[in-house]
């Protein structure tokens, strides 16, 4: 590759502002003694300038508004999902706490101080008590969700 070919490659990159310091020095040195290449660089720079000045196409305002509404709805849906998750987490924690905290009281009331010694009955009773509690909570959550869906449909 001769010197001019190498320099012509550099000129394209110079117009794109993509030369490193060494390439820039090499180009400048060459241009000092070569009017033809200097003129050629000007042409590349004109082309780069024309590219920079191309009119900017714009999306229609209708599309932008639609995008804004849909993207905001997406964010709102995510926020609601997160909030529902937090509520559900709290409810689960609360249910377990209530179940485990009230179970000894139930046993105490039903079987007196020494009812704890009958382990088999203790565990079976706890399972039954938990299932009953969770069924009640499930029905309540279902009713709540159904009501929320209805409210959203009306909105």
């Amino acid at each position: 590759m001769n010197d001019h070919e190498e320099i012509r490659k550099l000129m394209t990159l110079a117009a794109a502002g993509a030369l490193d310091a060494q390439e820039q020095r090499q180009l400048e040195e060459h241009l000092r003694g070569c009017a033809a290449c200097a003129a050629e660089l000007e042409r590349w720079s004109d082309l780069a300038g024309a590219l920079r000045r191309l009119p900017t196409p714009q999306p229609s305002p209708l599309v932008v508004e639609r995008v804004r509404a849909r993207a905001e709805a997406e964010l709102a849906a995510y926020a609601e999902e997160r909030s529902n998750f937090a509520v559900m987490f709290f409810l689960v924690l609360f249910s377990w706490t209530v179940t485990l905290a009230t179970w000894p009281v139930v046993r105490l009331v039903n079987e007196g101080m020494f009812g704890w010694l009958n382990l088999q009955q203790t565990w079976l009773g706890l399972v039954g008590y938990t299932v009953l509690g969770w069924l009640t909570a499930g029905v309540a959550a279902g009713l709540l969700g159904w009501r929320q869906r209805g409210a959203r449909r009306i909105a």
Partner: protein, 195 residues
């Protein structure tokens, strides 16, 4: 981008990551024209560009929590748009996304110092329409790198990050795309004069 703008951008991105819809609106205002222009240059059809524009912002709303704030938001945003555009081109447009093989060394074909060239005539008349047409007829990856560098004024490093390519590849692609654009312009104008 000035410091004030950068701080504003960082704040908007942080707010968006917390799920603030107002921040999304602000970012949309900030980037709508640039992002649409990039997509339009890439896929060429306005209807497709608008559809991808919409998909990009929805994807941003869905994925913003996965965005790493140490990275440039701009590069991330354009990468989201780029992935969608590439998927579209692969699926619907019979257009190769590979880099075309150089037809000889294009630099040979421009002869310096011959007086006003066809290119100068185009540029001196500011025929932006002709330039835009010539640009739209280049291969997709050339259109992309030209719009990123000259219209979006992205740094070479950011372009390399966006394209997931080494800096040297970006420079080579930039050079070849400029050469191809110039060749196209000279051919087009030559044909018109001849007619």
């Amino acid at each position: 981008m000035v410091l004030e703008e950068l701080v504003g951008l960082d704040a908007e991105v942080a707010q968006l990551r917390r799920g603030d819809p107002g921040a999304l609106g602000a970012l949309l205002d900030r980037y709508q024209n640039r992002l649409y222009r990039y997509l339009l240059r890439f896929v060429r059809q306005p209807a497709v560009a608008e559809d991808l524009f919409q998909q990009t912002w929805l994807r941003v709303a869905q994925k913003i929590r996965g965005y790493d704030p140490r990275r440039s938001f701009e590069a991330w945003l354009f990468a989201v748009a780029r992935n969608l555009a590439i998927d579209h081109l692969r699926r619907y447009a019979p257009e190769s996304l590979d880099e075309p093989l150089p037809s000889g060394d294009a630099a040979h074909e421009f002869i310096a110092g011959k007086g006003p060239s066809a290119l100068e005539m185009v540029l001196s008349r500011e025929r932006a329409g002709l330039l835009a047409t010539a640009l739209s007829e280049l291969p997709a990856i050339y259109r992309e790198v030209l719009t990123l560098r000259f219209e979006e004024e992205m740094k070479l490093e950011d372009i390399a990050e966006l394209l997931d390519a080494p800096l040297s590849t970006v420079k080579t692609r930039l050079r070849r795309s400029l050469e191809a654009l110039r060749q196209k312009l000279e051919q087009d104008l030559g044909a018109r004069n001849w007619e």
